[in-house]
């Protein structure tokens, strides 16, 4: 039994084996790529079924550490201001719907004036980074408008004139526009689809 051939025969055999191995490897790789490509095209892509949005989506700019710290500090103030603003609106609504008397408007709204003062005071202690200093100013303006609205609104208890409610509502709506703008910028998930 001849186990080994001559040197030249051995070299030729090794070359043939190597050639076969490389060929097999190439064929294997091609087959692998073909299978992968097939699976890729055959696989369902759930996102594409319903959504064509990813390419269109506008990426939000990254938030700096200073901006995040400011947003975090402003949130509890914002949460309270929103509640107080809507409470003020509902005092007026309840009065106009005949659920409460005008004195009750005063009782509900008068405590909101110092609440807005406290919010302004807390806001003044924050140090906004330059990038959102304008927003900070708008928020301060909003609280000032809310305060003015609360002072205006309680006058209805004195003379019963709806004109005070109208004036107050205009101030409040303007303030709400500003707080909404700030909220949309700092907390874009603040309101989700309802």
């Amino acid at each position: 039994m001849q186990i080994e051939g001559s040197g030249s025969q051995r070299t030729a055999r090794v070359a043939a084996v190597k050639g076969f191995g490389v060929g097999a490897l190439v064929v294997g790789l091609i087959a692998l790529m073909a299978v992968a490509a097939f699976r890729e095209t055959a696989r369902p892509k759930p996102q594409q079924v319903a959504t064509t949005t990813e390419a269109n989506r506008v990426e939000r700019p990254a938030v700096t550490a200073e901006e995040e710290a400011y947003a975090r500090a402003l949130w509890p103030i914002h949460a309270q201001v929103k509640q107080d603003a809507v409470k003020m609106t509902f005092a007026g609504l309840a009065y106009k719907m005949g659920d409460i008397k005008r004195e009750a408007v005063r009782q509900r709204v008068a405590p909101l004036t110092p609440a807005f003062d406290s919010a302004a005071s807390a806001l003044n202690k924050l140090h906004p980074p330059a990038s959102i200093r304008e927003l900070h100013g708008e928020y301060l303006e909003a609280i000032k408008l809310y305060r003015e609205a609360s002072v205006t609104m309680v006058k209805v208890a004195v003379d019963g004139r709806d004109a005070h409610l109208v004036d107050a509502q205009l101030l409040s709506e303007k303030a709400s526009g500003l707080t909404l703008k700030v909220g949309e910028t700092l907390w874009p998930g603040e309101f989700k689809p309802n």
Binding site: P44, P46, Q47, V49, A50, T51, T52, T53, E54, N56, R57, V58, R60, A71, W75, A79, K82, Q83, A85, V86, K87, T89, F90, G92, L93, A94, K96, M97, D162, L165, V166, Q169, S172, E173, A175, S176, G177, T179, L180, K181, G183, E184, T185, W187, P188, G189, E190, F191, K192, P193, N194
Partner: protein
């Protein structure tokens, strides 16, 4: 009056009635269009409809869709010369940029594409008071707002609730207000509603109300919010019932799956579905606020559609006799 004269008068009356009949009939049914005020892009399907939550690798058609785009649909209804809206969209432009919300345009400009002037809108019936359904009231200065007293009561209850921070009318969580019992009422929206009240341009509805002959408000309390309300509208293709978020999804109402359940009593939502089935005779004529298939063949009622400004879509649903098509 002798008999022959009486007969002549009766005959003349009948003839006059016959001539007048088509006019009366034309006023009895309304024309209806749907306008896409904007589209919430890429919302996880399971967040909108829990039964449709995405399961990776699933081939079940109920669970193989990851995200959906949700239109914000507004109904434009013309009955005779009376122009009204069901729901009033939203207008938080900063939010659009931040969240990828797309295809928004001011609602007044969108209805102008149908040839309507915002000043001519006489009534706005809001399905509920959330910011994306009552957000553009200021664009319609002459319109009278119709909102349920129960809706305002519900907001006030949540506003004054002394307990957990998640139970609020206005969210206390920067992550949003999903799943809280009452949320989604920013001060701007509330101020707009209050402004309508102060101007004498609001009707605080208490239950059922026939707005004009044949056009009826039906309460659907807690079907989405405390004071949700449906609107029945007679048309040439039968009665339609607008549901706002009492039935956000048409597939939901078809398959009896709940949808958009943040503030929902699910039994009440199913009762709202049933109300539409009873009034219209099925689910085909139920008009949904956020159905992802809107403006496609997948939601047949809305398939007669086209693309308008900023990619927002419109659909012509029904035309009253004599009403010309406004499809572009």
């Amino acid at each position: 009056m002798n008999n022959s004269l009486k007969k002549a008068v009766i005959a003349a009356s009948l003839a006059a009635s016959a001539l007048a009949a088509p006019v009366a009939q034309a006023a009895d049914v309304c024309s209806v269009w749907l306008v896409e005020n904007s589209r919430f892009m890429g919302v996880p399907f399971g967040a909108f409809m829990p039964d449709r939550a995405f399961v990776p690798g699933s081939t079940n058609k109920s669970n193989n869709i990851n995200t959906v785009d949700l239109p914000v649909n507004v109904g434009v209804i013309k009955c005779g010369n009376e122009l009204m809206l069901y729901d009033a969209g939203w207008n938080q432009t900063e939010y659009h940029k931040a969240t990828g919300t797309d295809h928004w345009s001011p609602l007044s400009k969108q209805i102008a594409q149908l040839g309507f002037d915002a000043k001519d809108v006489k009534k706005i019936i809001v399905g509920h008071g959330h910011w994306d359904h009552a957000g553009s009231l200021d664009e319609f200065p002459n319109a009278i707002l119709y909102i349920q007293k129960e809706e305002l009561r519900g907001i006030e209850w949540a506003l004054n609730y002394p307990g957990h921070e998640r139970i609020r009318a206005v969210n206390d969580s920067p992550g949003g207000c999903a799943r809280t019992p009452a949320c989604g009422y920013p001060s701007k929206t509330m101020d707009s509603i209050y402004g309508k009240v102060l101007k004498g341009k609001a009707v605080i509805v208490d239950g059922e109300l026939e707005v004009i002959p044949g056009v009826k408000i039906h309460p659907a309390f807690r079907a989405h919010t405390a004071g949700s309300q449906l609107l029945e509208v007679p048309t040439s293709i039968g009665k339609l019932v607008f549901g706002s978020d009492a039935y956000s999804s048409w597939e939901g109402i078809r398959d009896w799956n709940i949808a958009n359940p943040q503030q929902t009593d699910t039994v009440q939502q199913f009762l709202a579905y049933e109300q539409c089935y009873k009034i219209t005779g099925g689910y085909q004529n139920c008009v949904c606020a956020h159905e992802p298939l809107s403006y496609t063949e997948g939601y047949p009622l809305t398939k007669n559609s086209w693309v308008g400004m900023n990619g927002g879509r419109l659909a012509e649903i029904a035309l009253a006799p004599g009403e010309k098509s406004r499809k572009k």
